[in-house]
Symmetry: C2
Subunit: 345 residues, 2 copies
């Protein structure tokens, strides 16, 4: 048992990465009941949805589950930028017969809030994690009040030191290989984002709290390598995307099983922040990092109807096909079995 396993109360050094949009309580429950740490992503959920999911979790497991939130500053809406962005996407609106004037604006993702804290206080989850830093001190204090262990992601040594100084119980070292949103919060310079092999040992040396390795880990050998580099546990997301308990869409599952999965990129097209997904038509044609995309998470709105029309005809050309750089661990098997395999060595 590593120090981290004791801290989190888990039998196996395996964390399932929270993945908003492709999983809910079912995956979290399966992973936690198998001895790992399941996660419930709440970035795209209303307080009522969070309550419903936490009720399901309470009914199905007595093991710890990690409840995860984004904690970005709410964006400033910029009508001119939004209009320019919709013009950039104009040929796609034409192609799918969409009137861009009818697209509702809206952020799509919400940061941790006092309303969310109200819900959490009822359930008192033992582990709460954040992405993009930490929430305001008063909100964080509410989470700490029931004894929750607090985790957050660091993509640089500087971020790891910042998180430790602000009181996290463990740091997730998120290497550049990882799928989904980069947790970066002290810089928006992508050249600061480094590989797990380089990031993990530097963070292990830089902080005293336990470190969780994320990014590029796909199997038991990967978990063993992460532990050899000083991690107390490994966090995997991509590997769970084909599990029956995940709600991964059909086009996303098809892409993960295709040769296309070998080529991912960090892209801001889907939300406004860099996140790693499989390179598809939109990314190829607009470029993965387009400076015209609206600020996070406002970019979500403009793509949503194009994505819906494309998915309706079985195409993932306009979908955020989140994936890490190593999808070889994806298995169409129950999450519990996957957890056990990952911990085999």
């Amino acid at each position: 048992m590593t120090r981290l396993q004791t801290l989190l109360g888990i039998d196996l050094p395996i964390l399932q990465a929270p993945m908003a949009g492709v999983q809910g309580s079912a995956l979290a429950i399966a992973v936690s009941n198998a001895g790992g740490l399941g996660a419930l992503p709440c970035a795209m959920s209303t307080p009522e949805m969070i309550r419903t999911e936490l009720e399901k979790i309470r009914a199905a497991t007595s093991r710890p589950v990690n409840v995860n939130f984004f904690c970005h500053a709410p964006p400033v809406v910029d009508a001119a930028r939004e209009a320019a962005w919709r013009r950039t996407l104009g040929s796609y609106y034409d192609e799918f017969g969409i009137d861009p004037a009818t697209i509702p604006a809206g952020p799509g993702r919400a940061p941790f809030s006092s309303e969310a804290a109200d819900v959490l206080e009822v359930f008192k989850p033992p582990v709460v994690s954040f992405h993009f830093g930490l929430p305001a001190p008063d909100l964080l204090a509410r989470v700490r009040a029931w004894g929750a262990k607090v985790l957050s992601s660091a993509t640089t040594v500087e971020e790891a030191r910042w998180l430790e100084a602000h009181g996290v119980d463990a740091v997730i070292a998120q290497g550049v290989e990882a799928g989904g949103h980069r947790g970066m919060f002290l810089s928006d310079d992508l050249t600061t984002q480094i590989g797990t092999f380089a990031l993990l040992p530097q963070i292990v040396k830089a902080v005293k709290v336990p470190v969780i390795a994320a990014g590029g880990i796909a199997d038991a050998e990967g978990v063993a390598a992460a532990l050899a580099l000083g991690a107390g546990a490994a966090q995997l997301g991509t590997a769970f995307l084909l599990c029956p308990e995940a709600t991964t869409s059909a086009v996303h599952r098809a892409a993960l099983k295709s040769e296309a999965v070998r080529h991912t990129a960090l892209t801001n097209l889907f939300t406004g922040r860099p996140a790693r997904g499989i390179v598809n038509r939109l990314i190829r044609e607009v470029g993965p990092m387009n400076p015209a995309a609206p600020a996070f998470p406002l970019a979500t709105a403009a793509i949503t109807p194009i994505r819906a029309k494309a998915e309706a005809i079985g195409s993932g050309d306009f979908s955020p096909l989140w994936s890490g750089q190593n999808a070889t661990g994806c298995r169409e098997m129950p999450a519990a079995e996957l957890v056990w395999r990952l911990a085999e060595r």
Copy 2:
């Protein structure tokens, strides 16, 4: 002993990465005599220089040494592009009082040639490695004729398969963390360049020949992690840059020992091809990847006099400060001792 150690005839699973411009035979001899595989970089050497270095190696060790060459296609000189690039650098020429009309053109780096093969045939080095793919079949056949084992770098699964199909004896999986030139040769799209944690196990699964891990490895724990991921050995470059046997410049050594080393970027400013170095003033001001830079290796010429003037006043602002993303393994100790420490676990 791994299969790779037997193939290369080395006691320890440690390869020293060839690093043109910062080392010669002295480092190669020290590493090979310690039981690892030292390397002699020849990309910036004339045939006569190569002969002199190989004579030194023959006199100092009976162990195998890896003789390394670039094998890029010679560039097409584009006078308009060169002129535009010198205009981009105009303020620096002014700052240092340099007349750009006096700067000699020239490639700076040469690919493997029949003249180089003539020299090698005299010495018959047991290991020859290439960067940027492989040389033309007739040149490669000459190397094979004396029984040399041939290595080359792959930065993608596709490149690894290509190298195996073209007859290499082992593949170096070069993760994006690695310092110096990316070995990429089937694509120039940087989003194809992935972290060691993701690349290494995918290449291990994709090819039958042994695989050497490179990128982000800094210490014995890193070597152990690479072996856990299926590598037969680890190749390290950055870790050797502070060894007394390296010819690393004073400004380069100072940068490696400073906080600046935490921030590297892939940049084409110094040669025309993406290579990883510490972010300095030139990279910050011109951008790490500038589309105006001349084709590899022609970009070298325009920077050379600015670099020389800056280094003369102790500044690395315009120098290629090659480094990987994990410089924590740099030690000011004899290379032999470093090799033994790396192999300690």
